[in-house]
Symmetry: C2
Subunit: 223 residues, 2 copies
């Protein structure tokens, strides 16, 4: 217990966020880089979507500043690509001459903001603050859910079935009748479930089941 900066299992919120900038215009990159650095934000710039994809994304809260009009791949298409590749990062669009349908499409797809050039520095900074915070929250949620999935994966098929029935509110004897085994066996499964899932109480387990989307009908819902 010394002055260690962070534990191995650190919250995304505990580390330094990063702003990624993708724009083919070097002067824009420089300007944004200076802007963000002036308020103490880490920045990484890229000249193309391709470059950005090749870089290794750090596991910290981040956001992406994207020009809608990129050389080989438009900002909107890039947004769609990221979504398809399951890379979830809040996006802030910039545009010199965008139109309304573009804007609608981007916002519907979850963009944080859509700024028209020239924009005020403060508007960009506000958007980035919102985006980083959104990513921080979503990363924290994802981490919790991932831990949960890992524990759930250690359950045997039978234990998963029993977990569904337990969290649905059935009594041990009802569960036993439902799946055709003895009540004592249900109790044993139940004990295993509580230990493997690290649930401190039944309400705890119920909340885990909710997060995992577990119902009594779940035969093998493993994604």
């Amino acid at each position: 217990m010394s002055g260690r900066p962070a534990s191995p299992h650190t919250l995304a919120s505990a580390e330094e966020p990063v702003v990624f900038v993708v724009d083919d215009d070097a002067s824009v990159r420089d300007a944004l880089s200076n802007l963000f650095r002036s308020v103490g934000l880490r920045v990484e710039v890229f000249g193309s979507a391709h470059e950005f994809l090749q870089s290794k994304l750090p596991n910290v809260a981040s956001c992406l500043i994207l020009d809608i009009r990129l050389p080989r791949l438009s900002g909107l298409d890039f947004q769609a690509e990221l979504a398809k590749a399951d890379i979830r990062i809040p996006i802030i669009f910039m545009t010199g001459h965008g139109d309304i349908p573009m804007t609608v499409r981007a916002m519907k797809a979850g963009a944080v903001d859509f700024l028209t050039k020239p924009f005020r520095d403060q508007d960009m900074l506000d958007a980035v603050t919102t985006a980083i915070e959104r990513d921080r929250v979503s990363r924290d949620e994802a981490r919790v859910l991932s831990d949960l999935h890992a524990r759930f994966a250690t359950l045997t098929p039978r234990e998963r079935e029993v977990m569904g029935l337990v969290t649905a509110g059935l009594m041990n004897k009802q569960i036993a009748a439902e799946i055709g085994i003895a009540e004592i066996t249900v109790k044993i499964h139940r004990g295993h479930i509580m230990r493997k899932m690290a649930a401190k109480s039944l309400p705890d387990l119920v909340r885990m089941a909710e997060m995992l989307g577990i119902g009594p009908a779940s035969g093998r819902p493993q994604t």
Copy 2:
């Protein structure tokens, strides 16, 4: 209550949805009215935001088509007014000459779509379908939550406190120690809670507490 035609709790989804159109241009109102009626949708048109507000909103899934440029109150301001008055209805904006900041503001505030005139009929119909469906889901959720709140309101302060601790996973004896009463009294409160909330099981009660956003009120994180 005498004149109750339908069953006491009807799903919003079970009734005929309505499309509201607010536009100061009569020809636009007529055109949209015809369009929606041609696909079998109920329509009600208004010449101003004021007129719309004066009308009694039926309790069915609905959506609102709004021109961004209304005479006395802009579409955006009207959207804000509705939000402030806690009138939640999905909004689809139309505009002849809108700009991107307007679009962004509308979409951030939750607009379903933002169509530029002239738009294709199909685009409008798609937007309406999405909006109606969104409203249907949100009404169903609101109805369930409202029932829950009504039952929760019948709990005494003490019962609410105990409910928070029970659903947090504390044992009866822990709850008793926590609030300084006997375990038997906790059990009695607990029985009252289950009956008043109409919970068929503890998991049931836990899910209700989740929906109501109930924690161990006295700020006791048990994670």
